[in-house]
Symmetry: C2
Subunit: 202 residues, 2 copies
Amino acid sequence: MTANVFPPRLAELLEALKFLPGVGPRSAERMVLHMFTRQPEGARRLSLSLAEALEAVCLCPRCGMLADGGLCVICRSAGRDPGQLCVVETPSDLAAVEASGAYRGLFFVLAGRLSPLDGIGPEELGLDRLEKRLEENVVKELILATSATVEGEATAAYLAQMAQRAGIRATRIAQGVPLGGELSYVDAGTLSSALAQRRSIE
Amino acid sequence: MTANVFPPRLAELLEALKFLPGVGPRSAERMVLHMFTRQPEGARRLSLSLAEALEAVCLCPRCGMLADGGLCVICRSAGRDPGQLCVVETPSDLAAVEASGAYRGLFFVLAGRLSPLDGIGPEELGLDRLEKRLEENVVKELILATSATVEGEATAAYLAQMAQRAGIRATRIAQGVPLGGELSYVDAGTLSSALAQRRSIE
């Protein structure tokens, strides 16, 4: 609506900003005005780091996580248990598991999840790389942390079979009531999983 | 919290993104993951337009609005009334007035507002340029659209004197109840202005 008061190059920048998640016309305008009227150094720093990141960032050849040349931070770090391999769907999911602080093994990031209707089969997910990795005989447990959706479950089932063929134990993260969750607000499907996966109190 | 799973260049980009208004650690992370896992073309386009804008964007030498080399969009456009000059504090304020669609004159963007305590006097605001412009004898009305704050009012009073010296009519935008505003929610100061500036119904 107000973009017509901006010179063409800023109008183009406004458009380009809108592809970012959570950025609409109003916030793009606010960002542009902030960058060009208050914080030119900040804008220059952003421009530089974005250009450098685009130049350098690639996927880790071992696990598929974002990395800048060579292995990712986790594959490179000593002191992680190579016997545990946690399979997640995306780099965001890896970040979420890592933020929990409850896992010290390695990861394998799929390039999405099995979705035959969209033409995404085992090859598209990089499962051949995973299969080779399992054959190295280092991984003792394959932890399936794909999402709790139909495709995520199908992917987990497929991976469990793959682990079985390689003679490796496969586990699936638990489904149940979230921490602090009040039962009356939890949906029926989650509650049904929580009941089915109930455990003995020792 | 989760930034440690990102390679150094992405961690630097995360930091650089946080200077944008409304972007915190979580949304910066979401933006980075979106850029590098889903939308590499979008990120490349953003990087390019940001670099180009930083290269080209400057302030319009005539009015102080953002422009890319030479005059801004409004100073360049034919069909605006050069007899009216609206003074605003920032490019955002110009965009807001322009978005109202109620003004077809020209603008003058101050570099802020008078604030003696912060060492911002008439020179810092570019008022010498405004004075020269008023001496050109083209402007018939100086519309003071500075903000309704103490500094904004002081700036408006100063500008009104400047207009008087140049023999030009100065007007101030009205203060009152906003459109759709319910009286019980309007603050006392605004209501007092609205009463003081009441007009006859013809």
